[in-house]
Amino acid sequence: MRINKAVRVVAALAVLAAVAAGTYAVFQKSADSAAAFTTIDGRRIAPSDLRGKIVLVNFWATTCGICLAEMPELIATYRQYQPRGLEVIAVAMPYDDPQQVRQYAAKQSLPFPVVLDQGGALARDYGQVRVTPVTFMIDPSGQRISKTVGIINFAKLRAFLDASLPVGRAS
């Protein structure tokens, strides 16, 4: 009887450990194992191509006013830090109209790769992104180190990039 109880406790602990491992693995998932990015001009960017850079992956949509409101500052941040090793990838959500995405990217002269997530593989790989904007930071080794739901705090982002990227690095 006592052994049965012990078995149940150990089994429960094992299940808990499995759940914890799964949860942790979702956030800590290597960006390398994610789907490749395909840009609106057909360029393919494999996660491994981004090694050595700090990468900001921003899920957005042209129908999301909040996303568009933060774009100008995202552009400015990219222009400032890209030479030092920042990459920004803007992933348009699967439900977005590709034509609208292309038009917006052209009109705003988005300087970073703009990706169409047709089929939703990226949204799934990044832990079921449902709402926008959602922003992930990926470290130079390819690990996702943060997820932000909602508007980016650009002051904090700049402070982070200043502290993390080498000064004056060539692009």
């Binding site: 942790y24 800590q28 999301c64 409101a69 709402v131 180190i145 943060s146």
Partner: protein
């Protein structure tokens, strides 16, 4: 038998430990980055966001023989974009939408969208139908999209198909 179960449970626990370990080992190769990134952005509680169907509810009823009323109900703290509210009919023989009357919303000026109207409170949309005398069943397709005010996030467009029978 009990012993065997105990041993397999221990093996499972050890295996789970093995799964967890590589995940830990996959932490940022630059641990300083991970600590600096903590609290990098505004902290949002994603779990507090409602499911789309709870955030934005839709009820449809007939006002009279030729008018449908769609109640669009954003939950407290959410809003709908007026210009993303659309109605269409399918499987509709002898019935068509004549006009959709959406009430005015709260006006805000967006840098990109320009003047925008939003519905932070429930509204009634009236859909006038042109119908033939023998028209009976049809499906109303409603699409709408909204956002959460405080969390600063927008939901994907929602599409609902509702089977209706003309009175």
């Amino acid at each position: 038998m009990v012993k065997k179960r105990l041993i397999s449970s221990l093996v499972l626990a050890a295996w789970c430990g093995g799964v967890l370990q590589p995940a830990v080992a996959q932490q940022s190769s630059a641990p300083g980055l991970q600590s600096r990134v903590a609290g990098l952005f505004s902290s949002k509680k994603e779990d507090e966001l409602l499911e789309p169907d709870d955030a934005f509810k839709l009820k449809v009823s007939f006002k009279n023989a030729t008018t449908l009323v769609a109640d669009l109900i954003p939950a407290n703290g959410y809003y709908l974009y007026k210009d993303k509210v659309r109605f269409a009919l399918k499987d509709a023989s002898g019935v068509a939408i004549g006009a959709v009357n959406l009430p005015p919303g709260d006006v805000k000026t967006d840098q990109f969208f320009g003047k925008m109207e939003t519905y932070p409170r429930p509204v009634k949309a009236e859909i006038a139908l042109n119908r033939a005398p023998k028209a009976k069943d049809f499906t109303l397709v409603a699409t709408y999209q909204g956002c959460h005010i405080k969390q600063g996030v927008c939901y994907p467009p929602i599409e609902k198909s509702i089977k209706m029978t003309l009175p």
